[in-house]
Every structure is written in structure tokens, then in C-alpha cells.
Symmetry: C2
Subunit: 228 residues, 2 copies
């Protein structure tokens, strides 16, 4: 397709396109401050980038995307910021729910920090075409995620994946993080054990298509061994 020929170093059908991309959309607060706004204002500016990224992934044949919304760690921030990122996540999920995608919200929904409007999305919503899976982490915590592995005790032929609270999210091939930090910050520790990490220094609200192509061109050159 045209978009491939133009921006990717090899034709789309010759490139190794990751099946599953994890997105850490960091830097919203630093972006706000740089733009003379209070820290809570940046989250809204992350909505359009999220939708653009979905469209790029879908066009390229990526099978699954996981967005890092907010975490149980994040909820300890000042209330004004917390309300702003919760609202941005609710709006993002609603926006994505209008697209052609099978959508799942993953997080601790037993907690009062989980927005009730998103409860209907905690089981995957499949749509007729359903050409791509989207997972959106909301009030996610790595300890919460690993906290039920014990339920598998005694069962045979079960993997650790099956015991995760995030078991609806598959292994991630490529993690792209905006905002320059080189860390996972608790993002899906099991699904990322073999992931390749690509860091974009720009903040998430400054998302550009070029960031995405840069990450894919880099990923195409990696030797993927899954630990072997």
C-alpha cells in the first residue's frame, strides 16, 4: 500500500511487521509545562495521537495494539491530574470503540479508581470485521496482574500467561515509548519478557507518523530470538 512504500525502508510485504505493539504514551505532563499549561492539561492532547496510531497499525496489518492508559501507581498523583488522566482514558476508549477493532479494557475493576463507564469493556467487544485487537490498560497494576497466578496450581498444561489477570493480552513484540524514558514502569512484565524496546524522545502529544515508521524500520533490522 502507498503508505508503506513512502515511509518504510522496505516494502510493507517484505518487512517484518510486529504482530503486537505496546504503546507507552508518556510525557503528557512535561509537554503541558513546556507549553505553558498546568500539568493536568496535557492528557487531552493524547487522544488524537492514539487514534492516528491505531489507523497506521491497522493499515500495516498489525494484529494487536496495547495502550498503557493509567496504573494503580499513577492514581497516587494529585486529584486534579488523576481526574484528567482518567477522563482522557475514558474518552480514548469510547473513541476507539467506534472503530473497526475488537476492544478490551484490562485493569483492576474492583477498585473505586476504575471508571464505571468502562466496565462494559472489561470483556472483549468483537465487531463483525474485527481486523485488529486493541487492549487498553486502565487502573492496571503489575502486582494485581500477577496476583492470581496461584489459581493455576495443580492444573496441567497451563502456562503462566493463562494465570495472569491480563491473560487476554498476548506476548508483545515491540514496545514503543514516547517521552524519552528508558523503562517499562510496570507495563505487562510477562508479555514484555522478549519485547524489543524503542524509545522516542518527543512527548506523546507531539506524536508524528514518522515516529512510528522510525520504530518499525528499526524493528525490521532486529534479530528476534525469543531468548534462544
Amino acid at each position: 500500500m502507498f503508505i508503506c512504500y513512502k515511509n518504510l525502508q522496505r516494502k510493507g510485504d517484505e518487512m517484518r511487521i510486529p504482530n503486537h505493539i505496546g504503546i507507552i504514551p508518556d510525557g503528557n505532563r512535561r509537554w503541558s509545562v513546556d507549553n505553558g499549561l498546568s500539568k493536568d492539561k496535557g492528557y487531552d492532547f493524547g487522544l488524537d495521537p492514539g487514534l492516528s496510531l491505531y489507523k497506521l497499525c491497522k493499515d500495516l496489518g498489525v494484529k494487536e495494539i496495547t495502550y498503557y492508559g493509567f496504573t494503580t501507581d499513577n492514581t497516587k498523583r494529585p486529584p486534579l491530574q488523576r481526574e484528567a488522566f482518567v477522563k482522557a482514558c475514558v474518552d480514548a476508549v469510547k473513541l476507539l470503540s467506534t472503530q473497526d477493532a475488537d476492544l478490551l479494557v484490562v485493569g483492576n475493576s474492583d477498585s473505586p479508581m476504575f471508571p464505571k463507564e468502562l466496565l462494559p469493556f472489561t470483556t472483549r467487544k468483537s465487531v463483525p470485521k474485527g481486523s485488529i485487537k486493541i487492549n487498553f490498560l486502565v487502573n492496571y497494576g503489575w502486582e494485581w496482574d500477577l496476583g492470581n497466578i496461584n489459581s493455576l496450581k495443580g492444573e496441567k498444561n497451563t502456562s503462566i500467561y493463562g494465570g495472569l489477570n491480563s491473560s487476554g493480552v498476548s506476548r508483545i513484540d515491540l514496545v514503543i515509548r514516547w517521552g524519552g524514558r528508558r523503562r517499562l514502569s510496570g507495563f505487562l512484565p510477562v508479555q514484555t519478557v522478549y519485547s524489543d524496546f524503542y524509545i522516542i524522545d518527543d512527548y506523546w502529544p507531539d506524536f508524528k507518523e514518522e515516529h512510528f515508521y522510525e520504530a518499525l524500520n528499526w524493528y525490521d533490522k532486529q534479530d528476534i530470538t525469543l531468548g534462544g
Copy 2:
């Protein structure tokens, strides 16, 4: 101390020195090929770097180092390579055991792939001075590591750390990986949830002190939030 003033951008006592550094000493096989040797030959050249790194860490007041020796995934490689990296790990542990350090070998010791010579090191050996902890992963697998979390079921006030098979290894502040790859390859998924990652493009046998200082100078500039 002199080594600080010379190589670090700020004085050692003003810098944020990581308490715990994880070392992924990758690139031994690529180094071998680049140097006209067969792939199995590179591992031996990783012994001196490991000892040099220990000395640098000890001088700077790092409290704990974890070396990624070999994994259950790695044991699927050709026998000649496997024998070579197992031998190099045995030699490295023996070498480190002569130093002033509390040493622990962590890995699946029930498997025939675990070298019997290292069984005595699977409980931590404390020495009188014991100014630094060293952990060395041998026949380690992330699935093996997480496989016993279930044993905590029903116990109160226990964290996930306590249920790990690697529970003797604490949270890691900084992971330094040699050999250019930007991934964890199954390295301690729980202890690395908040770690900062620094990548050195040179292969591990080409270790230089400057790599280490470069990583520490970078780490000193990071904003550490532990997910908050």
C-alpha cells in the same frame, strides 16, 4: 575517591549511585565471529570484564550486582556453545567467590542443565566483610522464576517478591546491556518492572570502564519515580 572524580560527571558523593545494577553481558558470539573465532570461543573472554565490573561497583558503593549468566532458553543452543557458556559461568562464579562479596547463584538447580559444581552457591555465602551482594543467574528461566508465586496463597502481608524463586534478588535500579539489543530477554521480570535500561552497543568481551561510567552518568540524570 579518585576514580569518581576522574570519570564521573559529578563527584561520587553527589551522584545518585544505583543500589542494584543488573548486567546483561551480551554479544559474546558476535564478538567471536568478528574476531575470526568459532561462536563458542567468546564466552571465556567475558570473565575479565565481569571481574573488572565487580571492582568498579564495589569502589563506588553499589550494594548489589546481578549478572545474567545463562538461561533455560539458552540451553537449546548447539552443545558446543552450551558447554562453553556453562563452563564460563562456572569459572566466573568461582572467580567471584574469591572476592569480598556475598554470593548467590539463582536458577533451576533441579534440572540436569544446572552445573553441579555450583550447587553449594545456591544459598548465599556471606563473608566477614561482605560489602556487596552478587547474584549470578545460572540456568535461570522467567517461567521457572514465577512458577511458585502460588505458594503464597492465603498468606497475609506477603508481596509477590516473596513468592519468586529469585526472592533473594532485590529490585533492580539500573540494567546495563552490552551488545546493542534493546530487550530484557527474560531477565528477572519482577525485579525490573521499574528499572532504567542503558544499552552499550559494544559487545561484552570489549567491555571498557568508560561504558560503566557512561551508564552511571546517564542514570544520574534520570527522574526516578518508581511508577508514580
